[in-house]
Amino acid sequence: MGDKGKILFGLSVFVILVTFPFWSRLAAAGDSDGSRPELEYPADATACVEDTPYMTVNHMNLLNEWRDDLVRDGNPEYISSTGETYLKSLTKTCLDCHENRDDFCTSCHDYADVQPTCWECHTTKGGGA
């Protein structure tokens, strides 16, 4: 039974490798305290196109719908659940209120570790990259 040391060493290497994804992410998040990022909300707007809980969960689906409606079907008007009419436009509608993309979109996308490709083509208000 002289292999006890080797077995324990092998086991510990195995455990470290298997749990690597978990603790590496924890270590990477060590800079922040892991709490949700502070988002900068528009100062002069009172309501988004839909309410905040809905937008938090569904903004990506809504944007995909807007994209298909506008690009494929040429339908530019979105009528919200409160009856307001909005132009289906990321740059002209969303960014009209959320002027600072970095303090709103990007900070949360970084936190959630998602990489949407919107900004590879779409510009901010006034044609910013």
């Binding site: 994209r67 690009v71 494929r72 040429g74 779409h122 510009t123 044609g127």
Partner: protein, 268 residues
């Protein structure tokens, strides 16, 4: 278990095979029919069209004005390398624009005269036929051959299919070649494109939605001496300016024999 005779077994197998093959061919036929409709060929409710007066567009300032307006409107990258150049509206020599109109006795001044070219927004667009993702399609309400950059996979079938070379491929990130102002902003809010997609003239669909004329048309009409070099209008409207010109003047389109039905007309 009941035992089947060899004869019964063969009969049943043959019957099943026959049934499958007939059913299959009926299904295929049905799919083909519905597929043709979705390619958007044939009738549209109306059709935007353009008439280019080549005499008026002989003035370099006129051609420059409309090409420049397009570049600014759509954030078109300026790439000099002809292999990677992005063109929406540009100029070509007469002999290349109208190869079937050229004969040996034409003087060089005619053969080499610059002519403005752009997407013809064909009635029967071959690019639309070949697109595997329907990223390009013919819009039914106004006949514009549209591009959906979200759907383009960059296969370039459309570029092979277009007989007019009206489509350009983004071999690399175009943003570094797009003009910016002093603050580093693009001239327009129109989305830039990304590496790996095909782009072309869209007849300024985004301006038409706001009730504006295409940027090139607006630019030449504001230029002294350029008025009427480009005329834009609806072919389905009998009173439109394009119909008035087409019914009263001698106009030609590019490579008629191909049957694509170009909707950009030239007064030569």
């Amino acid at each position: 278990m009941e035992k089947k005779s060899r004869r019964t077994f063969l009969k049943e197998t043959a019957g099943a095979a026959l049934g499958l093959s007939c059913g299959g061919s009926i299904l295929t036929a049905a799919c083909t029919t519905s597929g043709e409709g979705s390619h958007g060929e044939g009738s549209v409710e109306s059709q935007w069209a353009m008439v280019i007066d080549t005499e008026k567009a002989r003035n370099p300032a006129v051609r420059e004005a409309c090409m420049e307006a397009c570049v600014r409107e759509h954030n078109v990258p300026r790439i000099d390398d002809p292999a990677e150049k992005i063109d929406w509206i540009w100029e070509e020599e007469y002999q290349h624009v109208f190869p079937d109109q050229v004969h040996d006795h034409l003087p060089d001044s005619v053969k080499e005269a610059p002519v403005l070219v752009l997407c013809n927004h064909c009635t029967n667009p071959p690019c639309v036929r070949v697109c595997p993702t329907q990223a390009t399609w013919k819009r039914e309400e106004d006949g514009i051959v549209m591009m959906d950059m979200h759907r383009c996979i960059g296969c370039r079938y459309c570029m092979a299919a277009c007989p007019y070379g009206s489509r350009s491929f983004n071999w690399r990130d175009p943003r570094q070649f797009v003009d910016t102002d002093a603050q580093g902003n693009f001239h327009s809010e129109y989305p830039t494109r990304t590496r790996g997609v095909v782009e072309k003239c869209n007849f300024c669909a985004e301006r038409l939605r706001d009730g504006l004329a295409p940027a090139c048309v607006e630019a030449v009409n504001q230029l002294p001496g350029g008025e009427g070099a480009l005329t834009f209008g609806d072919l389905s409207d009998p009173a439109s300016e394009v119909n008035r010109i087409l019914s009263s003047q001698r106009t030609i389109t590019r490579r008629v024999a191909l049957g694509t039905g170009p909707n950009v007309f030239y007064i030569v």
